[in-house]
């Protein structure tokens, strides 16, 4: 009898899952036309099983709706983001958080290689990688070559720089670029150990150095 109970429960639970999925995409109701909403919901449902979070996909659809994009463009953008998030998850691992996947997807879109993401995760399996990945993507957005940005971020993380100082480093590079420095050179120079004190990170490396971030043995 217990087997029958479990079976019946499983059947009813399976029947309830679509309702659950629909509820998670409720935010799309009223913001998208029915056809686009159905297509976006289909993408969300199809990648949910692979561990891709729904929120960033829904946000992307809402961004398109708010900006008046047509349905086909919204669906294409959501599909592309779903692919990027999936690649980020494959590189960063199944235990990665949603913000890490969002930042990882942005880094991949900026030109970072999946190997860079995997190396970062491999070196720091228990560290939050949101800020390093986001800074890498932001540097590329400012014109820094992807390889240079990846190497700079990796060097700073290995040097034990704090998250806030990584952001400060990016701002320093942006200032240099605004003053006319070549983007790649600005990032490379700022990331060298000798220049960390002038790269906007003196509070940690110059005065009270933090313990090095733990690395995988």
């Amino acid at each position: 009898m217990s087997v029958r109970i479990l079976g019946l429960t499983a059947v009813l639970g399976a029947l309830a899952l679509p309702a659950l999925a629909n509820a998670q995409t409720d935010r799309l109701t009223g913001r998208l036309d029915e056809r686009t909403r159905a297509a976006v919901t289909g993408i969300v449902d199809s990648v949910r099983g692979a561990g891709v979070p729904a929120d960033p996909l829904v946000n992307k659809a809402l961004e398109g709706a708010s900006k008046g994009a047509d349905g086909a463009r919204i669906v294409a953008a959501v599909r592309a983001l779903a692919a990027d998030l999936g690649r980020a998850r494959a590189a960063l691992g199944a235990r990665s958080t949603e913000p890490e996947l969002v930042a990882g997807a942005a880094a991949l879109r900026a030109g970072a290689s999946p190997a860079f993401l995997a190396r970062l995760r491999g070196d720091y399996p228990r560290e939050a990688l949101v800020v390093p990945l986001a800074v890498m993507a932001d540097l590329v957005a400012r014109g820094v070559p992807a390889d240079t940005a990846a190497q700079a971020v990796l060097a700073l993380v290995q040097a034990g720089v704090r998250e806030a100082d990584l952001v400060a480093f990016r701002q320093s590079v942006e200032r240099d670029i605004a003053l006319g420095a070549p983007a790649g050179a600005a990032a490379a120079v700022r990331a060298t150990a000798g220049d960390l004190a002038t790269a906007g990170v003196p509070s940690t490396l110059g005065q009270t150095p933090p313990p090095p971030r733990p690395r995988k043995p």
Binding site: L12, R27, E63, A103, A141, E163, A164
Partner: protein, 200 residues
């Protein structure tokens, strides 16, 4: 009188005293029998009871009722979880426990637009709603808004006069332009409050 270890008499006395007293031939057997007769402790009995198989007789109607109850719990729980998630990132922030809220950073968005009638903030943190996060204007035409954000990377833009999306000139642009209107990016690390923004 003082004895010593070399004294044979003392040595014999010591040896005699150290000899174990004679025990009854069936002493060991009686002790073990007594141990076996003692009742097991409560944890041991509980563990044994839990491990013994049981046969549970349930009528079809009762089984159906139990299954329906479990399914109802599953549906209601899932629906409640989905509703809390459906409200978006901002709503989750409001419902987060104190420790999580403490981890948020107050980000001040700043935008200089003296000629604008209204400016609002739209981004990943508010479902890209054009009107949900209006900014406040001062006499100089500086629009500001404080938003608590957990660490992460967020895309956003300023909505000028309710219709025009303007990227933040002081912030990095998002790579890739999905909808023909560039967006800005703010990366939030844990720590002190910070200000981002530029002018129109």
């Amino acid at each position: 009188m003082h004895g010593s270890a070399e004294d044979p008499l003392v040595a014999r006395i010591v040896a005699e005293l150290r000899r174990p007293p004679p025990a009854h031939p069936d002493f060991d057997a009686r002790v073990m029998a007594a141990v076996r007769r003692a009742p097991p402790s409560l944890p041991a009995r509980t563990w044994t009871w839990l491990r013994e198989p049981r046969t549970l007789a349930v009528s079809p109607l009762s089984g159906l009722a139990v299954a329906a109850g479990l399914a109802a719990l599953f549906i209601v729980g899932g629906w409640a979880a989905a509703r809390s998630g459906a409200a978006g990132r901002t709503a989750r922030m409001a419902a987060a426990p104190a420790a999580e809220r403490d981890a948020q950073t107050l980000v001040t968005f700043v935008f200089m637009a003296p000629g604008a009638q209204s400016v609002a903030l739209a981004g990943d943190f508010d479902g890209w709603d054009r009107a949900r996060m209006p900014m406040r204007r001062d006499a100089s035409g500086l629009w500001t808004l404080d938003v608590p954000l957990p660490p992460g990377r967020y895309q956003y833009a300023f909505v000028v006069d309710g219709r025009r999306f303007v990227p933040d000139p002081a912030a990095p642009r998002a790579v890739g332009d999905d909808f023909g209107q560039p967006t800005s990016v703010v990366t939030v690390a844990g720590g002190a409050p910070r200000a981002v923004g530029g002018s129109l």
